[in-house]
Amino acid sequence: MIQALFDGVLVGSILSLGAIGLTLVMHILRFANFSHAELLSVGAYCALTFDAVLSGIAPPLANLIGPFSMSAALALSTLAAAILTGFTAVLIDRLVFRRLRDTAGPLTMVFASFGVALIMRNLIALVFGLRTERFTDAISFATMVSSDPLLLIKPDQVAILLIAVAAMAALHLLLTRTTLGFALRAVAENPTLAQVNGIALPSMIRLTWIIGGGLAAIAGVLYGIDNQLSPVMGRDLVLSLFAAAIVGGLGSVTGAMLGGFIVGLASSFAILLLPAGYKPAIPFLVILATLYIRPNGLFGEAR
């Protein structure tokens, strides 16, 4: 039971990070971006590449930190991957979505996002191959944090949870304590009024992609540390990310955070009750149950 709780919270923290960017884009740009989950893959593979390069250039950086199977090289690589993925998201917007925004409706944008997802997924497969990858095999041999043999918690998993929570706390502070955060929230609520108040929409849209892409990259790396990297990891996570965003209420960052934990916990506990084959259906059940009670999600507002 406690194991399911921990596993649920761990997966939930990663889903929350991914869902925040998704909900921000959906609210500010008014379309469901099915390619968002692929940014997790982009981030994870960028970090894998940077990690290999850095470890090669400066071998001391490849040493593991304390009880963790992470190295300083991986930490630096994650930061670099977050930045690069943020700018990748801006580039995709410039090449595809911005052109369509001016001329096409939201449904066209959704279909375009399916296309972008396919292209991104296959580009990663083309470059890195279809085989799975790991940042390090050391996690397989990690010493458990708990002395209880029935409770399997690795130091890396604790670190993953702390990193995810720290990233969410940083975003929360940005949105609630800074004028830049107020501006982002203002654009999400009323783009026209935001413009009238001197906020330049193009720069806010770029910032949204950078934040969403950066958080997705961190989520991708954290997922890759605990599991493994594969070109289809975005496809595997996309429904859970949408479930988290919808359950939390579209546009609500707090909702996306909570939604991620709800979906993670529901999936984790469902395994105790249902055959593993039903696991992919859990996000849908969570969406249905939530929308039945609250049609706009937990923190969403009617639009």
């Binding site: 108040n197 906020i199 330049a200």
Partner: protein, 245 residues
């Protein structure tokens, strides 16, 4: 007392929400420095479209607009504050998910002066907002929302404010308070271009007025004369319109 120098000048404006489907057909008007000018007219006359066109929010297909002889056509709405122009929309004119202070802080990004100084000045000017500075915009009454919206416009120290039906949905007392506030703003030398359904109240505080119908100029003149002119009622009821089919 307003001087005679034309400040905002709109000439032969053709504008609308979709290209090729204009709502305004060759509308011209001007606002002098320190004046309150009201635009009135029946529903669908194009009053709000006119004010949105000046604010850069709809498609302008023809004509010219200048503020102190500087061209404003094609300037992005987020940059108009630098020209000394503020706009208060009719509805959804504050951010309901942000607190009063956060709304003001956001609007203060346009200020030349230190934002903190301007926020403090607005809270001094509007004690009702100071008392509710931590309340989310969604928790304010209609009158308080309108005052906050006007404070957000004033915080940038504009030289002209465009207001789209600032008394819409307000009680008679709140409407009177808002109109008095507009009078005080103009008294401080800020020009006001007002669009109002409540013609009698608006004309009562205005220097001049324009009447629009079917997206065209119908009449203009001193507010007192417009108020007493029997032709105004005819235009409102659709009996006498220039350019009507």
């Amino acid at each position: 007392m307003p001087d005679a120098a034309p400040f905002l000048n709109v000439s032969d404006f053709t504008a609308g929400y979709k290209r090729g489907l204009p709502i305004l057909h060759g509308v011209s008007m001007h606002v002098n420095s320190g004046e309150i000018v009201t635009v009135i007219g029946p529903n669908g006359a194009g009053k709000s479209t006119l004010i949105k066109a000046i604010a850069g929010l709809v498609i302008v297909e023809g004509g010219a607009i200048t503020l102190e002889a500087r061209n404003l056509l094609g300037i992005a709405p987020d940059r108009l504050g630098r020209f000394g122009l503020s706009y208060v929309p009719q509805t959804a004119n504050i951010f309901t998910t942000l607190s009063v202070s956060q709304n003001l802080a956001l609007a203060a990004r346009r200020c030349r002066a230190a934002p903190e100084t301007r926020i403090a000045a607005m809270l001094d000017l509007f004690p009702a907002l100071a008392e509710r500075r931590s309340v989310r915009g969604g928790g304010l009454s209609g009158g308080q929302r309108q005052v906050l919206a006007i404070a957000m416009a004033l915080i940038a120290e504009p030289r002209i404010i465009l207001m789209d039906e600032p008394t819409a949905g307000l009680s008679p007392k709140a409407s009177q308070d808002v109109l008095e506030l507009i009078g005080k703003i103009a008294g401080d030398g800020v020009s006001v271009l007002l669009v109002e359904q409540n013609a009698r109240m608006a004309l009562g505080i205005s220097d001049r007025a324009y009447i629009l119908a079917d997206g065209q100029n119908q009449m203009d003149g001193p507010a007192g004369d417009i108020l007493d002119d029997p032709a105004v009622a005819e235009i409102y009821l659709g009996g006498r319109r220039k350019g009507a089919a």
